[in-house]
């Protein structure tokens, strides 16, 4: 009979591990009042300077208040800043409003900002967003692998409520950027144990954690309004629950069955039907995200005058309207410049921008002109990563080029996004490739400086034009936003003239909400305007 006992023991151990370890609780009664929105497990602990993806970012932005915040239209307003003074866009003197508190009761002071930024920049802290502090004087010493300074010399605390910032070069963008997550302040408690802080963050934003451990990993994060918040975006609901989904299909099923109040991404499987299924609960709104097709000049036939003609020809050979409608059911719109249509200062009718419109005759003519310089040989290849849902539209672009120009054009899949990036960065890709940009904070300058500055590390196509660099510098140093927008438009006209790369489409977010929320709006970045969802 001995084996019976052993068997029973083995079975008991199995059962115990399965049932015993699984005790955890969740309060569904409270869920009735709070707004449930879709999320996913944040990639990193919820530390503002270490959060660089939007699943963590959407939570961090609720928990913290910065010097500025962005409204749903992408306009920046003062949040904690009482005044931001500058005469040259290079030296800033910042005064914060009095009487702000972190949710642990400690006051938010000028030091809270300066300490947080220095922490974010310090190389040994390995914060993913450390690069955002690079315009500040002293960043290079602090961010080195073996730092020669612990704090940036360009940051100085003047008193409780005032500090000054010294930049390496003028930047009108810096002021707008101050609402971006890495620039949030941190309380004293954070620096004692940042790892623990990231699990139970203490902020000064419109929301706070519902309780310690409100972050149930891979399941949900519960936030409740912060009664001490006194900025311009107070919570209009009784709380937010970020439900973590493994797929948007599942989230959509939950939206339909009423378990989810707001979903910011309709899965591609439902794009063609979601407007009928959701009726007036369906939302569509252009957002600051685009897709381009770039080519580096070391690819045969794409250098110099010949390359310019070919890029223009290909751009005019792409039927953007049709691709947006047929493949994306209107969830993309044709690109009209090198940024995105939702950004403040966007023009959309820049001189020369007709090169971004479908024009087969002109495309053929330009292609023939290029052939006169050097006859076309080989085939036109566009690389895309097959892990990101780009296959359909890249194939459509290839087809459009093939049919218009009568050349052999194909889409070339790469297994992952990283594969493409490795080859793009090493400049060994040897063919056209798709890439996109998503705005971190709502300015056109961010799109342009990151991608087309001659010395930018994220310049995919190695575009280098001193005149363009000069215009961007001038736009950054401009005394007023209007003047800055005017210079940005001039700089973009150069990009169009040089056809730096081929802008193809901008994103239109397709979203939906349940019938229990009376208003839910998407913001400029495609995320919900969470504070203003009313239930």
């Amino acid at each position: 009979m001995r084996f019976h006992r052993v068997t029973a023991l083995a079975a008991a151990v199995l059962l115990a591990t399965s049932l015993g370890l699984s005790a955890c609780s969740s309060d569904d009664a409270a869920a009735a009042d709070i707004v449930t929105v879709n999320g996913a497990e944040p990639q990193n602990p919820l530390v503002p300077t270490n959060t660089n993806e939007n699943m963590g970012g959407r939570v961090v932005d609720r928990l913290f208040a910065g010097l500025k915040y962005y409204d749903a239209d992408g306009k920046a307003h003062n949040e904690m800043a009482e005044s931001i003074e500058t005469t040259d866009r290079k030296s800033y003197r910042i005064t914060i409003e009095p009487n702000w508190k972190f949710t642990d009761g400690t006051p938010v002071t000028a030091k809270s900002f300066v300490d947080a930024w220095n922490y974010g920049a310090l190389g040994t802290n390995a914060q993913l967003q450390s690069y955002v502090f690079s315009p500040i004087v002293g960043f290079d010493e602090v961010s080195a692998e073996k730092p020669t300074a612990q704090t940036m010399s360009g940051l100085k605390v003047v008193d409780e409520r005032t500090f000054t910032i010294e930049l390496k070069a003028p930047s009108i963008d810096f002021e707008s950027e101050l609402g971006y997550a890495p620039f949030y302040p941190l309380p004293e408690a954070a620096f004692e144990d940042m790892q623990a802080f990231g699990q139970n963050p203490i902020g000064n934003g419109p929301y706070k954690f519902a309780d310690a451990g409100a972050w149930e990993h891979n399941v949900k994060i519960d936030l409740v309004p912060n009664p001490d918040y006194q900025g311009g975006r107070p919570a209009k609901n009784k709380g937010l629950r970020f439900v973590m989904y493994q797929s948007f299909d599942t989230a959509y099923a939950d939206l339909q069955s009423g378990n989810l109040d707001a979903l910011d991404t309709i899965p591609s499987s439902a794009l063609s039907v979601y407007k009928q299924e959701l009726g007036d609960r369906a939302i569509a709104k252009p957002v600051a995200q685009n897709q381009h097709i770039g080519v580096q000049s070391n690819v045969p036939h794409f250098a110099g005058e010949e390359g310019l003609l070919r890029r223009r020809a290909i751009s005019m050979a792409i039927n953007r309207e049709q691709i947006c409608e047929k493949i994306f059911h209107g969830t993309r719109i044709p690109a009209r410049d090198f940024t995105a249509s939702t950004l403040p200062g966007f023009d959309g009718n820049l001189p020369g921008s007709e090169v971004l419109k479908y024009n087969p005759e002109e495309a053929k003519r330009l292609w023939a002109q290029a052939d006169a310089i050097a006859p076309w040989s080989g085939r036109y290849e566009i690389a895309y990563n097959s892990d990101g849902g780009h296959q359909a539209w890249i194939e459509a672009v290839a087809n459009s080029v093939k049919n218009t120009l009568g050349i052999d054009a194909i889409a070339v899949p790469y297994p992952t996004f990283k594969n493409i990036r490795d080859e793009v960065n090493a400049e060994t890709i040897g063919k056209s490739f798709r890439y996109g940009w998503q705005g971190d904070y709502p300015t056109m300058l961010q799109f342009l400086t990151s991608q087309y500055y001659s010395y930018s590390e994220t310049n995919n196509v190695n575009y280098a034009n001193p005149e363009f660099d000069r215009l961007l510098d001038a736009a950054l140093a401009a005394p007023t936003q209007e003047e800055s927008y005017r210079l940005v438009a001039q700089a973009q006209t150069l990009l169009i003239r040089d056809m730096a790369d081929i802008p193809v489409l901008d994103y239109v977010a397709a979203a939906g909400h349940s019938d229990r929320v009376s208003s839910a709006r998407l913001a400029w970045n495609g995320l919900f305007d969470f504070e203003n969802i009313e239930k």
């Binding site: 068997t7 199995l14 993806e53 190389g123 040994t124 961010s143 989904y245 599942t250 490795d422």
Partner: protein, 308 residues
């Protein structure tokens, strides 16, 4: 007996080492750089990149990374996920849920499969038997994700009688529908195995003897036919428990169950050796234990089987 179990447990060590090395090598060979993936399309300063590489031993050669990982395992330190959380916490969170789901599925497929299989086997060639054979064939032919999405849509979205997704509690009621979906495929196999085995044993000599010496039909069926027919079924169920835990990935995705599936999927996408290897290693161990339990059960079913 004790010696047998000990030997089996010792055998697990080389399997464990081989499996982890193999998985580690495969994850290592996935193209692309995890630190670049962590950065996304954003730039990383060289210092941050170097720091992160050193923190996760990515600057070491493959064998060194593996040995460092093994060294950690021996002290029950499964390493750190790129999110900065210990992998051990992830294991403790995800496995209980998936094991519960898999046990429920095994229970459902076992009970229903054996009962229906027994009835079908006893009535070989009759209407019930033919219906079951056709039905099980249909179930085997339909992929589990089709069953899953259909069940979710019909019971969850349309009728609202079952939750469309599972919360962090993963309670019994919430897991019922996913467990049925997960168990449906194996249910068909259990049914067919039981049915064939029972049908075969019906004409065996010992059944005729049992009937001839005047035993009641109930006793003949339960003690003589069923017990002897269970050997292939138990073998299948044991092997299936391991397979179900692995196969739960699809079902967990559909019903958003925060178990092994989703965590593993994310970790594979992020190319995180510690997480992937730890999860798969635990799966391997569960599989080995399930097989050991099956082997021990044989003796209970057939006393002629001895352990040596």
């Amino acid at each position: 007996m004790a010696w047998y179990i000990l030997r089996r447990l010792l055998q697990m060590i080389p399997v464990f080492l081989g499996a982890t090395l193999l998985i580690y090598a495969m994850v290592f060979l996935i193209p692309g750089d995890p630190i670049k993936a962590l950065a996304g399309e954003k730039p990383l300063t060289p210092a941050v990149e170097a720091q992160l590489r050193a923190r996760y031993h990515l600057d070491e050669p493959f064998l060194m990374q593996y040995l460092l990982y093994l060294k950690g395992i021996l002290t029950f330190d499964f390493g750190t996920a790129y999110s900065g959380r210990p992998v051990r916490d992830e294991l403790a969170r995800a496995f209980p849920i998936t094991i519960r789901l898999a046990l429920m599925a095994v229970f459902i497929e076992g009970v229903f499969g054996i009962v229906f299989g027994l009835i079908a086997g006893l009535r070989k060639g009759k209407l019930f038997d033919s219906t079951m054979l056709v039905a099980s064939l249909v179930i085997i032919a339909v992929p589990v994700f089709v069953v899953g999405y259909l069940a979710q849509f019909v019971f969850g979205v349309k009728w609202g009688i079952a939750p469309t997704t599972v919360s962090g509690k993963a309670s019994f009621a919430e897991l019922l529908l996913p467990a049925i979906v997960l168990g449906s495929l194996s249910f068909a196999y259990v049914l067919r195995l039981t049915r064939n085995s029972v049908a075969d044993n019906m004409s065996a000599d010992y059944v005729r003897t049992a009937t001839a010496k005047g035993l009641g039909r109930r006793r003949v069926v339960t003690v003589h036919i069923l017990r002897n027919s269970m050997i292939p079924v138990v073998t299948f169920l044991g092997a299936d428990l391991g397979a179900l835990i692995g196969g739960a990935i699809v079902t967990e995705g559909i019903f958003n169950i925060p178990g092994v599936g989703g965590t593993l999927y994310q970790a594979i996408q992020r190319v995180e050796p510690p997480t992937v290897v730890s999860f798969v290693t635990v799966l391997v161990v569960i599989f080995l234990i399930a097989n050991l339990v099956v082997d021990l059960l044989y003796a209970a079913l057939d006393p002629r089987i001895r352990y040596a």
